[in-house]
Symmetry: C2
């Protein structure tokens, strides 16, 4: 692209560093900002700067937090005997929205992925094992996405905590509520049959 | 969404003000920035702030520029007798990329659109008419997109400059180079037949 302005070119280049945003989209976004009051752009810049400068990770669960110990970990009514292992803050938000889980979380910060150069030591696995070792934890629930990386990570953690003889579980895989059987993939449908539950539990 | 952090919520809210970016995409972008070195976010914020604070519009053509008179208007080898009327900086960039136009531009800053509350006085039409009145302009080329708003704007400007008896033209509409006839819409195909050109001119 041939820009008439260095300032414009610079802004477009920076915005197009974001994932999924190419030069054309970046130009559209930047021209939009130019049409708005400058205060909007100042607010945006300040919010982003404040975020990256001041954000903390909860010392206990490693979730994104404004304080040293996050709201969930600091809440005395949550059951600290059950730990749900998730990948990132989005999974915590998704599970919290269901209002079905009253235990604590442990945010790994990713999945083991040799292709992306992410090994166990880039994740918070050691801290999880420390928690299990300390003895308060009775159950670990694996809630990683069901991909090769997710399954590898689950298995790696399972092997490390096996010797402490606590309960381990994984969230149920099956046909989504409201979905039609004929469109489900075979693996999911197969698992949902093998792991069928008593009818009265589903009411 | 239920955020675990005010800083995160604030950043997501600001990013989701951008057109075409919802809360989920905003969260994805913001979490991406958190995984990068903070210097990337600082560069992004600075580039955006510098843009909205220091950008100028060229005094002659109203295109986005870092200086009072843009490179194109300041270039003595460009033909100031031909003015190409466009909507915004993206159209200037697109036409400049063809290297087929040696005249000057006039950037309107939009199209007349009563629905969006944009009237002739929100655009740089008066400044265009002043240019025509001054007598140096011999031809005005309308290069707005071919929509109701574009046609309305063309016609409004045409009515105002008609009395100065200069040449007015509009860019050719027709089948795109490389396109198949059978997939073209009827209006475009019809226009391309009515406005056919001598075969030797197309070689």
């Amino acid at each position: 692209m041939n820009f008439s302005s260095k300032l414009l070119e610079n802004a477009v280049n920076e915005v197009s560093q974001l994932p999924g945003i190419g030069k054309r989209t970046a130009l559209r976004l930047v021209l939009h900002l130019l049409k708005q009051p400058t205060s909007q752009t100042h607010r945006l810049s300040e919010a982003l700067n404040n975020l990256v400068d001041d954000i903390k990770l909860c010392k206990k669960c490693h979730n994104i937090s404004d304080v040293d110990v996050c709201e969930i970990c600091a809440n005395p009514s949550r059951n600290e005997e059950i730990i749900c292992v998730v990948e990132d803050v989005r999974d915590v938000m998704a599970i919290e929205n269901t209002a079905q889980f009253k235990g604590l979380y442990h945010v790994l910060g990713g999945k083991i992925s040799p292709i992306e150069g992410i090994g166990p030591h880039n994740l918070t696995i050691d801290s999880l094992i420390e928690k299990v070792k300390s003895g308060t934890v009775k159950e670990v629930i694996f809630a990683l996405s069901s991909t090769i990386e997710g399954d590898t990570t689950n298995f790696y953690i399972f092997k490390q905590i096996e010797k402490y003889h606590i309960k381990t579980s994984t969230i149920a895989r099956g046909i989504a509520v409201g979905d039609e059987l004929e469109y489900a993939d075979e693996v999911t449908l197969g698992r949902s049959i093998v792991n069928r539950i008593p009818f009265e539990n589903s009411l």
